[in-house]
């Protein structure tokens, strides 16, 4: 078990290092003069040009540059943003809380609801409720998040005037009631896909368990259907949910990029969009690194949780 744990942590570190290499060379991928690209404009004076030149350590060899950049990254120094004229890390620090808050909250909302619908659907397989749930989940999986958001804005904010069309504020600043009003629509947009995903996963893993011998044994022992459903099936059927949790959190952070722009929430999404539009490379590099780090941590934590719940996994892996 410890062996597997160490192996997984090692893998995660390796991935983060590889991503940092890829991110670092992102700058070199752009055709044209690196300095002008970083500055984002062509008409800079000589002093400014050389300032950026030395800031990027362009006088040194590529491996040296990478090591210097990585050293900075480890100290959370991603350089200076060329559009905001501030250290990139300061920008990230102020923008990341709403993104993490919304994506984690949306995940927390979608797990129980998705699992609930998945179980209902699996237990009533081939009945009407199953058909309706599966169909709805499949449709929700296909809807563009921004379109759901727009539809909700149109219905709840424009027509019914129940909610503000956009904006965001923490409960400490605007009060809890207003805060909830702000986050309802973004949360629905983010959670809908998650709920659909968890419903489908729960349903298929529950159906997998239904076929197992121990379920048949339990039923033939005379245990009630309800008892078998809840005691035997759920215990084993819900474990695979953990495996998709990490991927879902990563997708929630991604989805938040779009939703934040729709509802003007001052998070990573808005920062990302602005820095992409202006080709603000230090910020883009930092965003790639930090979101990757978060999604890697999410993957690692779900794997560890999975290993604790189902020791068979670590055994199988370390025997490889």
């Amino acid at each position: 078990m410890l062996k597997y744990l160490l192996k997984r942590i090692g893998q995660t570190i390796l991935i983060v290092i590889l991503v940092s290499v890829l991110t670092f060379f992102l700058v070199d991928l752009i055709p044209g003069d690196v300095v002008l690209n970083v500055a984002g404009k062509d008409d800079i004076d000589e002093a400014e040009y050389w300032k950026i030149y030395y800031e990027l350590n362009l006088d040194k060899s590529t491996p040296e540059r990478f090591v210097l950049w990585l050293k900075g990254v480890l100290k959370l120094d991603f350089g200076t943003s060329y559009i905001y004229h501030k250290p990139v890390w300061d920008l990230i620090k102020t923008n990341i809380p709403p993104t993490l808050y919304l994506s984690l909250l949306a995940t927390l909302i979608s797990v129980p609801i998705g699992v609930f619908f998945g179980i209902i659907s699996a237990v009533n397989r081939k009945k009407k409720s199953d058909t309706i749930i599966t169909l709805t989940a499949n449709i929700c999986n296909c809807l563009p998040q921004f379109w759901i958001g727009l539809l909700l804005t149109f219905l709840l904010a424009v027509k019914l005037k129940w909610l503000p069309t956009m904006g965001f504020g923490w409960p400490s600043k605007v009060g809890l009631a207003k805060h909830i009003k702000y986050i309802i629509m973004p949360l629905i947009c983010l959670s809908l896909g998650g709920i659909a995903g968890f419903t489908r996963q729960t349903r298929s893993s529950m159906l997998e368990v239904i076929r197992q011998d121990y379920i048949r044994t339990a039923r033939s022992k005379g245990l009630s259907k309800r008892r078998v459903n809840f005691k035997h099936m759920m215990k084993n059927g819900l474990i695979p949910i953990l495996t998709i949790l990490g991927g879902r959190i990563s997708r929630m952070i991604g989805g938040s990029m779009i939703i934040e722009n729709l509802f003007a929430i001052p998070g990573m999404g808005v920062l990302t969009r602005n820095s992409i539009m202006a080709k603000d490379l230090p910020t883009i590099q930092a965003i790639v690194m930090i979101t990757t780090a978060f999604s890697c941590i999410a993957f690692l934590l779900t794997d560890i949780a999975y290993m604790i719940v189902d020791p068979r996994i670590s055994l199988a892996e370390s025997e490889e």
């Binding site: 893998q11 390796l14 991935i15 590889l18 991503v19 890829l22 991110t23 992102l26 991928l29 752009i30 599966t134 169909l135 989940a137 499949n138 449709i139 999986n141 296909c142 809807l143 563009p144 998040q145 921004f146 379109w147 727009l150 539809l151 804005t153 149109f154 424009v158 069309t165 489908r200 349903r203 298929s204 159906l207 990563s250 997708r251 952070i253 991604g254 989805g255 990029m257 779009i258 722009n261 729709l262 990302t272 969009r273 820095s275 992409i276 539009m277 080709k279 490379l281 883009i284 965003i287 790639v288 979101t291 990757t292 999604s295 890697c296 993957f299």
Partner: protein, 299 residues
């Protein structure tokens, strides 16, 4: 003479079996109503995309300055946008862009991903390690962030976006192909081919590839939808396809400002994305049913 007759009969028999298999494939594929719905819907979108110039008389990027933000009329069926461009025409041409990007990106991703997956599994060792570690690194960057960063670096023409979206989907193909190639590699027929002195290239193309194709095809059909969804998201953010190319995502984002007066400018293109993706996914389910009977009835 008799031998030849026998041979002909055998060939006829083989042809008959092949025809029967094909009929069975079609029958299983369309055995569910939803799949038929998906196929019909997809065909409609496809026809619209192909015959776009016949359906609408307006150029989607033509700006009619006299008809800015016009209401729906006989001239402009769905009105015009803030540049005086005909919304209906942009919608029709948007189908073209979505389908081109979806199909192009997925084909590219599949070709690259399947090749890398087969190479990794077949040769193993260092090659495998390098490909798989890089693959994991690429996979662990949230897809939308990766495509956004690549847009900043590569650009946002239709071809650029196809490449970018392909890069984000490659890892799934590499992983699946690798796992399946590992199985095929240990099969008797591959061992026999090796003993017979076949080259690695010959074995990969003739023996491995045909045996790993069907799950890949199933995945490809499913991926077209999700790629279109991703493209619309990028275009919605304003970093997708270059203006004035008509893209549904861009239309939604441009129409957003007019949600009070004319919500349809932004709601209808989004609905088109949703419908196309729903049709594609149902069609994909049908392909899966027909190609892999074990998965039938699951989601």
């Amino acid at each position: 003479m008799k031998d030849k007759k026998d041979l002909n009969a055998q060939i006829d028999y083989a042809k008959e079996i092949r025809r029967e298999n094909r009929r069975k494939f079609i029958r299983t594929m369309f055995s569910r109503k939803l799949v038929v719905f998906g196929a019909i819907g997809f065909s409609i979108f496809l026809l619209i995309a192909i015959f776009a110039p016949l359906i609408t008389k307006y150029d989607p990027s033509y700006m009619d300055i006299k008809a800015i933000l016009a209401n729906p009329s006989a001239e402009h069926w769905l009105g015009t946008d803030d540049f005086g461009r005909d919304t209906f025409s942009r919608l029709v041409y948007g189908a073209r862009i979505s389908l081109i990007i979806g199909v192009l990106a997925v084909s590219l991703a599949a070709v690259i991903g399947i090749s890398l997956g087969m190479i990794a599994a077949y040769f193993g060792g260092v090659v495998d390690q390098v490909i798989m570690r890089l693959n994991e690194a690429l996979h662990s960057i949230p897809h939308i962030i990766l495509s956004l960063a690549l847009v900043a670096v590569i650009g946002n023409s239709v071809a650029d976006l196809a490449v970018i979206l392909a890069v984000t989907t490659v890892p799934t193909y590499v992983r699946m192909t690798r796992a399946m190639t590992l199985n095929v590699k240990n099969s008797d027929y591959v061992k026999a081919a090796k003993m017979a002195g076949a080259s690695s290239f010959h074995i990969i193309i003739k023996h491995v590839l045909p045996n790993i194709m069907s799950p890949n095809i199933i995945m490809m059909v499913g991926n077209v939808g999700s790629t279109i969804l991703m493209e619309s998201g990028l275009s919605f953010l304003g970093v997708g396809i270059k203006i004035p190319t008509p893209s549904w995502g861009t239309m939604v984002s441009e129409g957003r400002a007019y949600i009070y007066n004319n919500p349809y400018i932004s709601l209808i293109p989004g609905l088109c994305v949703a419908l196309l993706v729903i049709c594609l996914n149902n069609l994909g389910d049908g392909v899966r049913d027909a190609m892999d009977p074990r998965l039938r009835g699951e989601n």
